[in-house]
Symmetry: C2
Subunit: 342 residues, 2 copies
DNA sequence: TTGTAGGCGTTATCAG
DNA sequence: CTGATAACGCCTACAA
């Protein structure tokens, strides 16, 4: 069954294409009778405007691109959901691409979206992103662009972020408040701004509490995996048996550490208290349940799309859009892994 | 920075649009000199063909639609990854839509994809799908279509599935083999074929082992959540304290049950053994680790896209495509929740 | 070897 | 109130 066109409807009714088009769009200058005839036939023939032609004329596709490091990830899949739902509400579709934490792939995906001529791009950088030529090129091409979560501070686009330093400070302060004296940090890779900021929050909070910072207590993940959590917990115990608190870059890593501690009968939190970050669902099903920082992933998706929409609309209206930075709140979630028995 | 067009290149070089187009596509009937001039300038001006125009001419968008019940779901996010990666390899982009387990929304999403004129549609049905008019309409419109995981048997499209009945039988047989005599089943909702099949596998396996089937031992999830797992574990213990095995429709539910059992100091597996389904990552971090059936989600995404690609290609070539059903293998994963101590 | 013309389906402008 | 015409940008048969 081939799709119907305006031309066919016009031919059947013996009127011009122009009139059909206008009738369907309820132009005031078409007679009620003609309108009805056209609409009825269109309905009957299941007419829908050919979006390829509409795209060509209007120069917009009502489609945006979303580039994220990985789809299979509690945080990102929630962001995706937020973006898709908000886009849907506003009549936009979403093309999703993965960078697999590789700069090279990320650059390729940006190219693909250029060629596809999406109306806007949302992106969270890969851990590997230490170059931003491709990000600049999004801006020079004048494509609406919003960064979220893992961003490049140097690129003057809109951004949706949390205050990683502050959130991380809250986490570490909480460990100190429950009595931890020697806190290790399992941090993320070198590049991502959020790994840097969480590390800084950790360091500054120690200093603020007159606890000397010791770089030997900082362990650096390459891939931010469960397995790394396990491995570093082991190393921490071996190298610093007197550590009494661990703050991990994200829940997945914290859960790896927790598994190791549990299996080796290290009492959590009484011997070692544990803080994660991001509030993954999984943290709630552990024993003990994992304390963490709630990061509003779903809301971040919504906010990112909303900002993008603003920019798309303002460009369409011919206005100049001034990038905005939206900072979302985080929340300390206290659970069993930091509630001492005593 | 506005995108370059063939026209502009032609104007600058003082030649015709046709020649520019041909030069870029390496037509044999363009002089080497002209080709070089055109290509150099195109390169310099960052020319990429306007995909809207190409779509209109070629009547294809190299974009497919993927409709799934929910994005934030271990199984589906792995499917998404498989689809995206395989699509990417073949030069296709993927638009993702959620049905949120609602038939109505699912129908709407199908409409959206019609309007968008995607080259093909991949879909896993919502639990709510008891009507298939919209699925038939995909076929009547002649749009390549592949169903996966939660499918409608009645719709003659290609499909990618596992043998749910057989897989579930394997799971239940395993419980029986380790000595379970009274096995409860937490099943999925009424509609989805896979919930039905897993239930049938359970029932038939009991009968095959001369264990009487008791419908009171079957608990039905509405939303297939962690919370339902908790709730039904409680009910099972209350109503049937002598149950010694539980088989849950999926890991998330099994993990809910496990949490309840752990918190109430019911020995797993010694008092009650536990089987999940799907092999969610989370199952590996529980104590005890969850036994389950591995369901190849990522491979399912790849297989689904591959089937769709075949169909899209065969249609383009004007051939008749005969729907195929691909059945992927599952695997019993034995972990702590079914390894008795003794 | 290069160019002209027509069309993909829609929409906007302008004339009747 | 209706319609002819051009244009969006690209591609391709055909002509020169």
């Amino acid at each position: 069954m081939k799709a119907t066109t305006l031309k066919e409807i016009a031919a059947i009714l013996g009127i011009s294409i122009t009139t059909v088009s206008k009738a369907l769009k309820d132009y005031p200058d078409v007679s009620a009778k003609t309108k009805k005839a056209v609409k009825d036939l269109a309905e009957q023939l299941n007419f829908t405007p050919n979006s390829f032609a509409v795209n060509l004329r209007t120069k917009e596709s009502r489609t945006i691109g979303l580039i994220i490091p990985e789809v299979v990830h509690h945080f990102f899949s929630n962001v995706i959901r937020g973006v898709i739902e908000e886009a849907d509400k506003n009549g936009y579709l979403v093309i999703i691409l993965q960078s697999n934490e590789s700069l090279e792939l990320e650059q390729k995906q940006v190219e693909l979206l250029f060629n596809k001529r999406v109306d806007g791009i949302l992106m969270s950088l890969s851990n590997d992103s230490n170059d931003d030529y491709h990000l600049k090129s999004i801006l020079t091409r004048g494509i609406p662009f919003v960064q979220f979560d893992k961003i490049s501070k140097l690129i003057p686009s809109s951004k949706v972020v949390i205050n990683d330093q502050k959130a991380s400070a809250t986490a570490v302060q909480h460990l100190i408040d429950i009595g931890c004296k020697k806190i290790a940090h399992i941090r993320g890779p070198e590049n991502p701004q959020n790994a840097i900021d969480r590390f800084l929050g950790y360091k500054k909070t120690l200093e603020k509490n007159a606890i000397p910072f010791d770089s030997k207590l900082v362990y650096t993940c390459q891939n931010v995996t469960y397995e790394e959590g396990v491995k570093f917990a082991e190393e921490i115990l071996r190298d610093h048996p007197d550590v009494d608190g661990i703050f991990a870059i994200t829940d997945l890593v914290a859960i790896g550490a927790l598994s190791y501690l549990n299996e080796n009968h290290i009492a959590v939190p009484d011997q070692i208290a544990l803080m994660g970050f991001s509030n993954w669902f999984m943290g709630q099903v552990m024993a003990p349940k994992l304390s963490t920082i709630d990061q509003p992933s779903y809301d971040m998706g919504i906010a990112a799309f909303s900002l993008l929409l603003e920019e798309m609309n303002s460009r369409k209206a011919g206005g100049v859009f001034i990038p905005r930075i939206v900072e979302l709140d985080t929340e300390l979630i206290v659970r069993g892994s930091t509630i001492k028995k005593q």
